[in-house]
Amino acid sequence: MTAASLTTPATSARARKYGSMSRDRRWALRWSYVFLTLFAIFFLMPPVYMLITSLKTSAEISAATNPWWVQNPTLSNYTELLTSRMYLTFFLNSALVSVIVVTITMLISIPAAFALSRMRFWGSATLATGVFLTYLIPETLLFIPLFKMFALVNEHLGIQLINRWWVLLLLYPTLTVPFCTWIMIGYFASIPKELDEAALMDGANYRQILTRVFIPVALPGLIAATIFAFTVSWAQFLYPLAFTTSADQLVLPVGIITTLTKGDVFNWGQIMTGALLGAAPPLIIYAFLMDYYIAGLTAGATKG
């Protein structure tokens, strides 16, 4: 009896305390959602505005109506761009460059990462650090000397490199290979040594260890690196702007900016449509492979 009367106040007090704590939590949660919504509006506003504008006619854009609302939605901008030879050329160039660069990147960085993470050779540790440092060198530092170098190649060897879309196949790997090699070294180094020792015991050679053991085991890292290489190649703006000029050699970002924004009259409906379609491939990849995308994003700084 006494025991019961002693415990009831204690339990009720504890219950009240828990109740107030959960009320605090509820409020914290509510505020979190409020602020997250505000931030989401800020972060998503430009792409949404792109979509809104892309659905408008030129007449509606230049009319002084609410810019955030579409009165007469139309797909004419989309049909016009998707039947425009020039825009399709840009898209094709971008796709071609990105796919080939991803292939080159993987062919260079996977064997290199394997060699650097498993098979020591003279200077391999220095090289691994060097790869990382190369990743830190921005393209804005290199485009001028590279431009002059390629001009000299043309002068002395007669190979025209500037103003050809495939010059980008030489340039983009300098951006993608160091990072991909670096994160693949991280992924390969995390594979237990027993695995390749077992494969060696079974008589596998290095090529077999790489293709039968390392690549399958490090597949998530490989996908992250591929996504990174693709998005970097797709988004690169400085190199194509400096190295290509003719309309049939341009890739998407530069193509939209130099051809659609020509003159004083900007056709904003088409520019926004072009930009939205140009942003679509990375967005689609991101939507389907978000976890790999984020793994690649955080790997650069958290691995190593």
């Binding site: 602020f35 997250l36 505005y49 060198i137 393209e139 530092l141 431009f147 900016i257 140009g278 967005l283």
Partner: protein, 310 residues
């Protein structure tokens, strides 16, 4: 006798070929050959041009005469150059601070909500980072349009005069920073979220038992645990922001009257469009000191962590 004399060289050849094959089969040789394409790529297209730009910077405009430090002396005398230095520093530092702050705050809010909803929010908030910067800058350019700005339309609703987003120097500088923050903050958010998730829950429980309040938990548990990732993310971002090209180029092209130029855009303007490659190379070389400082700190951190792991 004749036979032996005939056989001797072929045996030597065989031995040499065997030696070569053995050399080829040696582990370190295979490893070197596997890394060779990477070495060639870095040597020819990164290291060589980096040093070549040092050489270019010492030539005159037509690249026929050696002028020593003449290009740098010329730059130091130009007012535009000092303006670009100042603008680059303001641009990079302000943008990184705001990106870090917003990233930190948003990461905490995402961390606060139940984990099954986190994926959705994280997915939405990372969108600015995924869109190619050239494309999203076009959207911002349109949002900042002098006559049809959608922001000014909203401001007009609350009775504020239209703002000249890219026309007036200080507003243009602020706009360029705003766009950079918009693009870069999600990256900080993702990194900080990863860092927050790596803090063991027991530490918070221990702190709660010791009666720590929210600020104390933040100051003594969260921040020390996140310090490493925060520092390295900020340094990475400092490098990328300092060398940024796309945003300024598309939004203002350096204008109004060079008031928003940063090193990269000015180097492009002088070197490629102005056809003065040596001067452009000299301008871009001014990015090297700050990049080196950031790189040294990042490398130190990475080496330290590598040491801790082994």
């Amino acid at each position: 006798m004749v036979d032996a004399a005939l056989q001797a060289p072929s045996a030597a050849v065989a031995r040499r070929r065997g030696g070569f094959r053995r050399f080829m089969q040696r582990r370190s040789t295979i490893a070197f050959l596997m890394a060779l394409p990477l070495i060639l790529l870095i040597a020819l297209l990164v290291i060589y041009p980096a040093f070549y730009s040092l050489h270019l910077a010492t030539l005159n405009k037509s690249m026929e005469r050696f002028v020593g430090l003449g290009n740098f002396a010329f730059l130091f005398k130009r007012e535009t150059f000092w303006m670009v230095v100042q603008q680059s520093c303001i641009f990079a530092i302000t943008a990184v601070i705001f990106k870090a702050l917003i990233g930190f705050i948003v990461a905490h809010f995402v961390h606060n909500i139940p984990s099954k909803g986190q994926r959705k929010w994280r997915g939405m908030l990372l969108v600015p980072w995924v869109i190619p910067p050239a494309m999203s800058c076009l959207a911002w350019l349109w949002l900042f349009d002098p006559s049809y700005s959608a922001f000014n339309w909203l401001l007009a609703l609350v009775g504020v005069d239209p703002v000249s987003w890219t026309g007036e120097p200080n507003w243009a500088r602020a706009s360029v920073i705003l766009v950079n923050v918009w693009i870069g903050a999600p990256f900080f958010m993702i990194m900080y979220l990863a860092a927050l998730k790596s803090v063991p829950e027991q530490l918070y429980e221990a702190a709660a038992i010791d009666g720590a309040n929210w600020w104390q938990r933040m100051w003594y548990v969260t921040l020390p645990m996140m310090r490493n990732i925060m520092a390295i993310t900020a340094l990475f971002s400092l490098i990328v922001t300092f060398a940024n090209f796309d945003i300024v180029r598309i939004l203002t092209a350096g204008g109004p009257i060079d008031r928003t130029h940063v090193f990269a855009t000015w180097a492009f303007w002088v070197g490629i469009q102005g056809n003065d490659i040596p001067l452009g190379a000299s301008v871009s070389l001014f990015m090297v000191p700050i990049l080196t400082v950031a790189a040294v700190f990042i490398l130190r951190d990475i080496n330290r962590r590598a040491g801790e792991m082994s």
